[in-house]
Symmetry: C2
């Protein structure tokens, strides 16, 4: 018997979540068991408030162009469901004959999806719930990586290389550059800036992840050491850095706010470190904080990420039609060079609310850079080499005068 499909997105937008929607819708169009293809406006809030849109009425070329469109075309939200909300969800699912519910998001969303699946089973409502992985944070367990991460990594690799070239050109004036990246509790995003580095002398020189406590004195020593060697320093830091006491680094605490899941809204690490470096080391520093731009930059999206995002959507749908439920699609890397991945399935319970931190083998002993193993892990995900830039040889002309002092 045929039922309707409902798709919703949750959490922070990415460059490729719309590719997952495209994969889901294009696959759904192939299955007779799928009657209506509905999207929820602004994620689970759209389900609660019965704000559903009919994706069969979209132009197929618009659906296809979702592959080139960043952010979240259906809208998203961060919202923690109450017990009462779950009852309402069931009402909506029953009223609209929803037989397939596909939820794209991170570990909070997988928890929501898992609870929905349980509740439907308890109430004998036939509902196949599937999770579609999506998070630039790359912190979902079991899957090799998360759609969205390859693109934010490509953005940060390119932007950091640009920022390093900028510092290299103007270091006689601005010697210290901080690049502040996203990453709530994990350093996956920050770590990807290492892809910008080609030689010892070129940045980024130092990378600090929230997996290690930030120790100000060591930091200042490390910055000074690099500055003494090269006359400049580019430092990449995660917005979620914490000191030894577990407190966030912050120039002021006024901006700290918590979202609906109780996560602290971060920001200010760049400003804080600029102040510390100019105050303690008397060096002129400035910071770049691409903020949300990094997660939705289509210009720097990874082609592999776009394709994998499509594929996890497609597989979530076909798996649901085949009878799977209460599972999330995973990506399994079966070859690194040339890169090749396939998809798998995992119980939602295994990924719900759990966080995968950057493992020890990806962080160097000094806790101020990543390892070669990390670079091997991340490189294929950004979908090809960085654009080729010119480097001049700079053969010097013989001096004819005394040094100028």
């Amino acid at each position: 018997m045929s039922h309707n499909l409902l798709v919703a997105q949750s959490g922070g937008p990415t460059a490729v979540i719309n590719s997952s929607i495209c994969g889901i819708v294009e696959e759904a169009l192939q299955h007779e068991r799928i009657r209506g293809i509905y999207g929820a406006v602004n994620g689970i809030l759209g389900v609660l408030h019965e704000e559903l849109v009919d994706l069969r009425l979209e132009d197929p070329s618009s659906i296809r162009n979702l592959m080139n469109t960043p952010s979240a075309a259906l809208g998203s939200c961060r919202y923690k469901l109450s017990a009462r909300d779950f009852d309402r969800l069931m009402e909506v699912f029953i009223a609209h004959d929803i037989g397939y519910f596909l939820y794209a998001g991170g570990n909070d969303s997988m928890d929501t999806a898992h609870k929905v699946a349980n509740l439907a089973a308890e109430r004998n409502h036939e509902l196949r719930v599937m999770g579609v992985p999506k998070t630039v944070d790359n912190d979902l367990r079991i899957t090799d990586h998360c759609p969205g991460y390859g693109s934010v990594s490509r953005f940060n690799a390119i932007a950091t290389r640009d920022s390093c070239l900028d510092t290299e050109a103007i270091y006689t004036t601005d010697t210290v550059k901080i690049v502040e990246t996203m990453g709530r509790d994990t350093g996956w995003i920050t770590a990807s800036t290492a892809l910008a580095k080609d030689t010892d002398e070129n940045g980024p020189h130092l990378i600090y992840l929230p997996e290690r406590p930030f120790i100000l004195e060591e930091f200042l020593n490390e910055v000074k050491e690099v500055h003494d060697r090269f006359g400049r320093v580019v430092i990449c830091v995660c917005e979620g850095l914490r000191d030894e006491s577990g407190a966030f680094l912050k120039a002021s605490t006024e901006g700290i706010d918590t979202d609906k899941f109780g996560h602290v809204q971060l920001g200010g690490v760049g400003d804080y470190l600029v102040n510390v470096i100019s105050g303690k080391l008397k060096l002129k520093a400035r910071y770049d904080k691409p903020g949300t731009i990094q997660r939705v930059s289509m210009q720097c999206a990874s082609q592999i990420d776009i394709e994998e995002a499509y594929r996890v959507g497609q597989v979530a749908l076909s798996s649901a039609v085949e009878g799977e439920c209460d599972k999330m699609v995973t990506l399994i890397r079966n070859q690194n060079d040339p890169y090749h991945s396939e998809t798998g399935l995992v119980e939602l319970e295994e990924v719900a609310l759990k966080t995968k931190k950057v493992p020890d083998e990806f962080i160097n002993n000094d806790s101020n850079f990543v390892t070669k193993a990390f670079l091997e892990y991340v490189r294929p995900l950004i979908g090809g080499a960085l654009p080729h830039y010119a480097r001049l040889r700079k053969r010097t002309v013989n001096r004819k005068l005394q040094p100028y002092t």
Copy 2:
């Protein structure tokens, strides 16, 4: 008689200053009167310290690839010359038989170039000095616009549109977004974010330029009004905003520093406004500050900007060979649609140290957005339309339940 050519870059890097170097070098290779083609490492500092490189020894393909390489391949600096330094410059010019000196930079650099030209004339050293316009700030007088501006505008148009889409997707959680752009004393860069706007509802909703005093109370009213209408607000601000007393907006003053020309090093407007908005309006705000990334993003460079940067370099060289001196190349727009420009020349004295602010006719009456006239001015400079993104129709499915409260 043949002489050597010396090229130097100054001030902040851009996506296209290397295109100007490419234009200069490729043109110089065509003239028998140019013997050596030298570049100064780190701008005028490289001249003072006799750090010159021989650009004839570069691979022609590297010179060509400068067109695709951002930042400043020869290195740059910000350095205010003393009277003694000018004497040293002359010594270096004479020692290396420099007959042509081409200096790429903004209004500070044009002043330096002008002084060098005067001094050489006073001392009867035959030196043809030409200025090559370069500044993302777009604040040089007389020229229609400055190479570097089209590309930073394209970056900001794309990044702001992405950031607006991000806010549109997640506004049920994060309702206010600040985008902080560069722009020391002028709002040209900030104004370009308006290119991201397609409808009333979509951002950016408010744009504040340093050409108008920032009045906090009016700002808060305007933010609240947009928020009441659309449930979200995207606000673009210049790092150089000042209040009615002329003081910079700043969360803290610790980070304020002055560079060698006495310009104040800015930053912190985004952080300040996030705090003000969360404190006074109780709205959750966050900010994006792409920082130096905006001025060196090759991924978002404008093809027209790249070509014009090449052309001003080429024309500076050929004009010098033809006998011109103490002048800067300008861009003259002779047609807007389709866009067409030609080059002209202006006395360096006319542009040295002077600043072109955003004129009144480009700022709306409420001082919180740009006008149609500005959009007509800036649109051709970004070298083509923004990438096409999908917009879903979102035809709603009929409700079957009572509203959820």
